[in-house]
């Protein structure tokens, strides 16, 4: 079984970018409940830029992810965008020089990304942000080593995270200021991550 390669990343970018066509509006709407309504626009812009970025010149996964991080740095100043960039850099550092990364490493890599994002953004798990969904996926994929199983488990865990946080208040970002109102509403960052994981798991 092949692992994660530059080609895998390229494919993932295409799937995510395609998904944004319909997801953009849903995320904007979610963000406009309590935030500034730009989560979808931002993710579209970043993924569009990724799609334009030729990472095939990179011999290793780490290099490809760093190229994407640099593209993000020039494309957005939003919190989610910068956290995304942080995650890419963190995983990129761990996969430097690797032409192929075993799927069994994915959970640990997500864990490393999570730590970097917590460090960067100052939020904690449980604050109802994108972090909680990433955490759920990292946990669910621990010890799993084939792509198909990872896809199923990740997709399911992401959905569960979204559902279980719906009834909780947001504690970070703009929505924090309206913590009570945020109960019953999806966090747009988390929603975006979950929808993209679903798409990647489904291969479209």
């Amino acid at each position: 079984m092949t692992g994660i390669t530059v080609h895998t990343i390229r494919n993932a970018v295409e799937i995510a970018n395609t998904r944004m066509a319909t997801l953009e509006e849903e995320l904007n709407r979610a963000d406009s409940q309590l935030g500034d309504g730009d989560t979808g626009v931002m993710l579209s812009r970043v993924l569009g830029k990724f799609s334009e970025t030729d990472i095939s010149t990179s011999p290793d996964v780490g290099g490809a992810l760093q190229m994407l991080a640099r593209a993000a740095a020039a494309t957005t100043g939003s919190s989610l965008g910068t956290l995304f960039m942080t995650a890419l850099l963190a995983i990129g550092k761990k996969t430097k020089g690797m032409a192929s990364v075993p799927w069994s490493d994915l959970s640990d890599l997500l864990q490393a990304a999570l730590e970097a994002m917590i460090q960067r953004g100052g939020a904690s798990l449980g604050d109802k942000t994108v972090l909680d969904a990433i955490h759920a996926v990292a946990m669910a994929t621990q010890g799993v080593d084939d792509q198909a199983h990872i896809a199923t488990k990740a997709s399911h865990a992401a959905d569960q995270a979204l559902i279980s946080f719906q009834g909780k208040p947001c504690k970070i970002g703009r929505a924090r200021m309206f913590a009570d109102k945020s109960i019953g509403i999806d966090d747009p960052g988390m929603l975006g991550f979950v929808r993209l994981v679903n798409a990647l798991a489904a291969g479209r």
Partner: protein, 331 residues
């Protein structure tokens, strides 16, 4: 809300193009033309000071680039932090070989981007950070580090800028900036919202006869809402909140900034300033170099803020040093 603009997507770049055309002492740089800097470039050997933030707050932040103030400034989209790349560019442009102070308002996104930019440049340019945290409404005094930065940050620009111009090193400039931030307290009131270009609705809603005390410049909720009251009553409330935070041992001299958030006209600022001056005189405080006007706005938002900068001898000396930014000149 009506806007004179070409399109939401060109808004910021059109503004910046106009800014540097109108003020030839400013120039536009960085890989995406999202850094405003002194036309002459960094002065060799001087500590650089860079700032940045979202667009929509003119003359903040870019209008304070100039001699004796900022060296560069990275600009994001309206109400969005500047991206990491612009922050990197801004730090590089401000660098004259003596290190760069990153001096900007305490907002989560901005902090992430400036921090990340600093890390990208590690080993290349020495950087320090001071965050503007003057808004007393945004957290209690014991959570002072959580407070956001609003109009009062211009005192830190001016004071740190003068210190750098005097030839102080990075750690001294950083310490002075931190001292200026600690000495400056702001409180704002909001009357009506603005609208982000391209957005379908205003940043917040408020009844036609109400105002909100302590609301943030992006519409973040404040302390309380009430029916409009006479200006003097409002000012008294605002001032007493600021004076509660007067530092122990303060010598009795302050600079005052009465700032329009955008649509509120000079007339109303002066009505407020009249009361501020009378009340401070009563309290035995002398006003130095008052500023009344549009210094930090949220486009067409109506409202105003009052900032007090509690001076000591050093701060007052630096405040009165020459500066040549387009929107705050001292000669």
């Amino acid at each position: 809300m009506k806007k004179i603009m070409n399109s939401a997507s060109t808004y910021v770049d059109d503004v910046l193009a106009g800014l540097v055309l109108a003020h030839p002492r400013l120039a536009l740089g960085g890989s995406a033309n999202r850094v405003v800097h002194r036309a002459g470039g960094a002065r060799k050997g001087k500590v650089g000071i860079t700032s940045g933030g979202g667009s929509g707050h003119l003359p903040l932040f870019t209008g304070y680039v100039g001699q004796g103030m900022l060296d560069s400034c990275s600009i994001g989209n309206v109400f969005e932090g500047p991206n990491v790349e612009s922050c990197i560019d801004a730090i590089k442009i401000a660098d004259g070989g003596a290190g760069v102070l990153r001096l900007y308002g305490n907002y989560g996104g901005d902090r992430m981007n400036f921090d990340m930019a600093g890390e990208f440049l590690e080993g290349e340019i020495e950087t320090t950070t001071v965050l503007g945290t003057d808004d007393v409404a945004s957290a209690s005094p014991d959570e002072g580090k959580k407070r956001r930065g609003v109009a009062g940050i211009i005192y830190a620009y001016k004071i740190a800028g003068a210190k750098a111009e005097e030839g102080a090193d990075l750690s001294a400039v950083t310490a002075t900036a931190a001292k200026a931030v600690a000495a400056t307290k702001t409180i704002g009131l909001a009357l009506s919202p603005c609208q982000v270009p391209g957005s379908a609705k205003p940043t917040f809603e408020i009844a036609a006869d109400e105002f909100e005390l302590g609301m943030g410049i992006h519409g973040e909720p404040g302390l309380w809402r009430s029916k409009l009251k006479p200006a003097d009553e409002i000012v008294d409330d605002m001032l007493s909140r600021l004076l509660e935070e007067r530092p122990a041992g303060h010598g009795g001299r302050v600079s005052v900034l009465v700032n329009s958030l955008g649509a509120t006209p000079l007339e109303e600022l002066l009505i407020m300033y009249r009361r501020v001056a009378a009340k401070l005189r009563e309290t035995g405080i002398d006003i130095v170099q008052p500023l009344v006007g549009h210094y930090a706005t949220s486009m067409e938002m109506a409202g105003a803020s009052i900032s007090l900068c509690f001076l000591d001898e050093e701060l007052e000396h630096l405040l009165s040093a020459p500066s040549g930014s387009p929107f705050w000149e001292v000669k």
